[in-house]
Amino acid sequence: MTDYNFAYLDEQTKRMIRRAILKGLAIPGYQVPFASREMPMPYGWGTGGVQVSAAVLTPEDTFKVIDQGADDTTNAVSIRSFFERTAGVETTTDTSAASVIQTRHRIPEEPLKEDQILVYQVPIPEPLRFLEPRESETRKMHSLEEYGLMHVKLYEDISRHGHIATSYAYPVKVEGRYVMDPSPIPKFDNPKLGDMAAIQLFGAGREQRIYALPPYTQVVSLDFEDHPFEASKADQVCGLCGAEDSYLDEVIIDDAGGRLFCCSDTDYCLGRRNAGHQGSSLPGNEVAA
């Protein structure tokens, strides 16, 4: 560990990120600019989330990393081992045992608690970016609460598809003020953003933005009276644990193109199976097609 500063980043950088986190918590949903540092991993690997984690971790923490719900992807494993090495923290895959959870594209199924912190990796923090490429303009739109175009775009979705087709990074409004990008979580996860007991921090490395949701913050997914928001998921149950309430991934399981729906949250699924729940696709339980 002597070759590294604690949690890799130098103290000046951590102070700058920490100040940005505090302002983010004081102004929920507002994107605080920060001077992102080069990290020893490519941008797509969540350098924003990694910098936020580096700024909040203490040696006493237990750290978990999930990548689209899974603890065992290359991305998740390498970030976990990065902080084992540089911060000396314990790591875990157990959601309830973690004090800091860094995530890419999911919120754990198990409700988080007051002593936990959820750190999101964010690729594009600006929910208005697809409407307006210029940062100077989107900043002005946020300052004036000019969110009409955002609503028009969602409504166009409805007229084209009969429903709002946006199923990831579905925009939310925070405390009736800032429209925020929740990162590319499935909209199934959107209802968990509001009134969460844990602190939620969002880091975008390439775009150099940090934003935050304090616990118990009001977060509302944008919608319309005649087309209310719906937290949809595949109309299936988990083939491994039988869960009906969790977000499912469809995976190809054999060369013949066989498919299986299973929990995207691998820790949740394993926990259910360890508790005796069984899905129809577990070995021995296969249902003949």
């Binding site: 102004i27 600019p33 002005k140 004036l144 118990y216």
Partner: protein
């Protein structure tokens, strides 16, 4: 440079500032929650909590205003040695420290701009007592919480400017609590 200037900093800066930050973050994320914070031994009249907040958050990039009786030669020397933060007047300060009376008027500080509301001051208010008093509600608070506040109208006025405004950290001995601009008080 005397012993008091050289001493009183974090003995293990990376670890102690990480722990201290978690206390400040917890306090700011959950307004009214009282957290322990320690590590700094600043010169009088600064509390250990105020000193620890300054060591954790301040450096050459953050002008600090030392209000009234916190502006001593010892405090200046300690702050300069351990943080490198320049001492400034209230209108340029990113952080200010002192008693409530010494920090007034609040109109002297930066409250941010409509496009950059984060460019606003954080006031570290040295307090006798943190618990009780006013009722708080808003982001970070499940139903309501409480905090001993030196004023009500000042914080209600600050709330009305949201998303602009000031953020407050109340320090007492080795404890702190916070009141961001988003909190309703009554």
């Amino acid at each position: 440079m005397d012993a008091q200037t050289l001493g009183g900093g974090f003995t293990d800066p990376a670890i102690q500032s990480a722990r201290a930050f978690r206390s400040v973050m917890e306090a700011m994320a959950r307004p009214g929650t009282i957290c322990n914070i320690a590590g700094a031994e600043p010169p009088a009249p600064l509390s250990r909590a105020a000193g620890s907040v300054l060591l954790t958050l301040c450096d050459a990039d953050t002008p600090v205003y030392l209000a009234s009786d916190t502006d001593t030669a010892d405090v200046r020397a300690w702050l300069a040695f351990h943080t490198g933060a320049p001492v400034t007047g209230p209108s340029h300060a990113m952080f200010a420290v002192g008693t409530w009376q010494a920090l007034l008027p609040l109109s002297a500080y930066q409250i941010g701009t409509s496009e950059y509301p984060d460019r606003s001051a954080t006031l570290i208010v040295e307090s006798d007592k943190l618990a009780g008093g006013a009722t708080l509600s808003g982001p970070g608070i499940k139903d309501t919480s409480g905090l001993n506040l030196p004023d009500l109208v000042a914080f209600q006025t600050n709330r009305r400017m949201f998303p602009l405004g000031l953020d407050f950290i109340f320090t007492s001995g080795e404890r702190l609590a916070a009141l961001p601009r988003s909190t309703e008080v009554c």
